[in-house]
């Protein structure tokens, strides 16, 4: 299998780059941790209507949403790395070799999944003393869901970066995309608190399903229909966005 070998080669290189400058992985966690410390306490009264009103319950609702925000938000910004690589000439160097074009995308996207997995682990570990509790089986499902979200957001970001080579414009486009996706998925505040029309709009946002699925898993309700529904929806979206981005890669990286 030439493609899987090529994916492995690209993945290894980007893993090496991550190990060489691990600071980025930890900087990525800094923002969620600040939110955890300063924002989650505000939620306690707001969420008391949804659960028993304890701090642990607040975290059980807040942490899964934040993990989705991390996967979505973090992933959408990976395109900047690609821009830097495009201008440094390393992509061009790869283009003149027979390496699979799809591998250039997948190897990077998988590295992004690993980055996210580490960041998610840090956040989950930090929230255990705060009363978060999750079964190992549910956690594995949650990780699968996060991986699908990460693949989707990375694929979108790389695809946009290939189309928009100006870093300033790219930042604006990504911001304008990330904001509605985040707000309409209830990552920070559950959409259960939202008016009906907003909830109906959010039903069209796959990431909103992902957040619901994650919350169910962290509440220990793995059997909820929303769990398998969210995994199926995110898997479909991940395949679609990867296919779109891979097509851009093969075309512009011919």
């Amino acid at each position: 299998m030439k493609v899987s070998r090529d994916v492995w080669i690209v993945f290894q290189r980007h893993l090496l780059l991550m190990v060489r400058s691990p600071l980025w992985v930890f900087l990525g966690v800094a923002q969620p941790v600040v939110y955890m410390a300063l924002f989650a306490p505000l939620l306690k009264p707001a969420l008391s209507s949804l659960d028993n009103g304890s701090m642990a319950a607040a975290y059980r609702i807040y942490i899964p949403g934040m993990l989705v925000a991390l996967a979505l938000g973090g992933g959408l910004y990976v395109g900047f790395g690609l821009l830097a690589e495009l201008s440094s000439g390393v992509i061009e160097r790869a283009r003149v070799t027979p390496i699979s074009r799809i591998a250039l995308l997948l190897g990077r996207a998988l590295r992004d999944v690993v980055t996210l997995a580490i960041q998610a682990a840090i956040i989950i570990l930090l929230s255990l003393p705060l009363g978060l509790f999750v079964h190992v089986g549910d956690l594995l499902l949650a990780y699968a869901l996060l991986a699908l979200i990460s693949l989707t957001s990375s694929a979108i970001s790389y695809g946009i970066a290939l189309k928009i080579s100006n870093a300033g414009v790219l930042g604006q486009v990504i911001n304008n995309l990330a904001q509605p996706l985040m707000l309409l998925s209830g990552t920070l505040l559950p959409l259960a608190l939202a008016p009906l029309w907003l909830r109906r709009v959010a039903d069209w946002n796959p990431f909103s399903w992902a957040v619901s699925g994650m919350r169910a898993l962290f509440a220990g309700h793995a059997a909820d229909a929303v769990v398998w529904q969210s995994i199926v929806i995110m898997a479909g979206i991940a395949v679609l966005t990867l296919a779109w981005s891979a097509r851009l890669f093969t075309r512009s990286v011919r």
Binding site: L17, S88, V90
Partner: protein, 318 residues
């Protein structure tokens, strides 16, 4: 090894909502033989890099045909890629990995197995005098070292043809001489090297054959010596004080003169059969007409003279 016919490429540029088409390469024909160093000489913006990138499968030509190492550029870019190496002007390495890691990766991207890739990387470090720095991060290298890493990356898979874009641009004289030796060594091992340059001395001293490109077209192609010989005879430059036009008219038609050209008001550039005998005659003619000469200089034609003859401009000025 490389054969191109009517290769064309134009780009669209947008400025103030107007789209303009810039013809970067306007029909390039050339032939590069196996085992030679072929230089593509021209000023910045002449279309050198665009042509090189087309040969390296990075840009698809708008029109024309080309074969590189026996494969058709348009229909079999994958086959072309297997037999070429390409080194961009700015290189292309990650800052935080070592030259050895880069070499292994490059070999593996070319489909070479892990163990063999490691052996090749070690051999390349040796061959390019990099063993000492091979395990240091690329960002710590000097300009010359970095350039050697770039070339080592370009030839790790032993390609038939190596494309080098401005290989010595920005290097100090010593690194430059070292780079020339490296390129010659690769040629002596049987590799065909196609390089672009805007340095006259590089084209002259390093290249077996050159093509001169200007405004996207090849205006001359031959060995540097043959190109210089084609101008034949010598070049005489006469310095005057504002009377160049008049002097040019006066000299036109003299039997010992091949061409005469006034450059600015104070300089006359003559190509003559033999400089030694032409100088006294030029001086007599001009002084007879009351035109005063401030300087007179004789030199063998250089590639710059070739460029001047073919394009009407000096490469040094453009």
């Amino acid at each position: 090894m490389i054969e191109a016919k009517g290769l064309r490429k134009s780009f669209q540029t947008r400025r103030r909502r107007k789209t303009a088409v810039v013809e970067a390469v306007a029909g390039v024909d050339l032939k590069v033989a196996e085992g030679e160093i072929f230089g593509f000489l021209g000023p910045n913006g002449a279309g050198k890099t665009t042509t090189l990138r087309m040969f390296a499968t990075l840009l698809s030509p708008d029109d024309g045909e080309a074969r590189v190492a026996g494969a058709d550029l348009r229909t079999e870019p994958a086959r072309v890629r297997r037999s070429i190496g390409y080194v961009a002007q700015g290189g292309g390495t990650w800052d935080d990995v070592t030259a050895r890691q880069e070499l292994v990766l490059q070999a593996r991207m070319h489909g070479i197995g892990k163990a063999a890739a490691q052996e090749r990387a070690a051999a390349a470090l040796e061959a390019f005098n990099l063993t000492e720095y091979g395990d240091r991060n690329c960002k710590t290298y000097s300009g010359g070292q970095r350039r050697r890493v770039d070339i080592a990356l370009g030839v790790i898979h032993q390609p038939k043809v190596l494309f080098l874009d401005e290989p010595t641009s920005g290097l100090d004289p010593q690194s430059r001489a070292h780079m020339w030796d490296l390129v010659r060594k690769l040629r002596d091992e049987g590799m065909t090297v196609f390089l672009t340059t805007h340095y006259l001395d590089e084209a002259d001293a390093l290249c077996d054959r050159i093509a001169i490109i200007d405004h996207g077209e090849v205006v001359a192609e031959d060995t540097p010596d043959a190109l210089k010989r084609a101008i034949s005879g010598d070049v005489v430059t006469v310095g005057l004080t504002g009377t160049a036009q008049k002097a040019a008219e006066l000299l036109t038609g003299q039997p010992y003169l091949r061409s005469v050209e006034a450059r600015d008001d104070d300089e006359l550039r003559l190509t003559v059969e033999a400089g030694q005998t032409a100088i006294p005659q030029v001086m007599r003619t001009l002084e007879g007409a009351g035109i005063e000469l401030s300087t007179i200089e004789l030199h063998r034609p250089t590639l710059d003279d070739v460029f001047l003859t073919k394009t009407g401009r000096s490469l040094r000025e453009s």
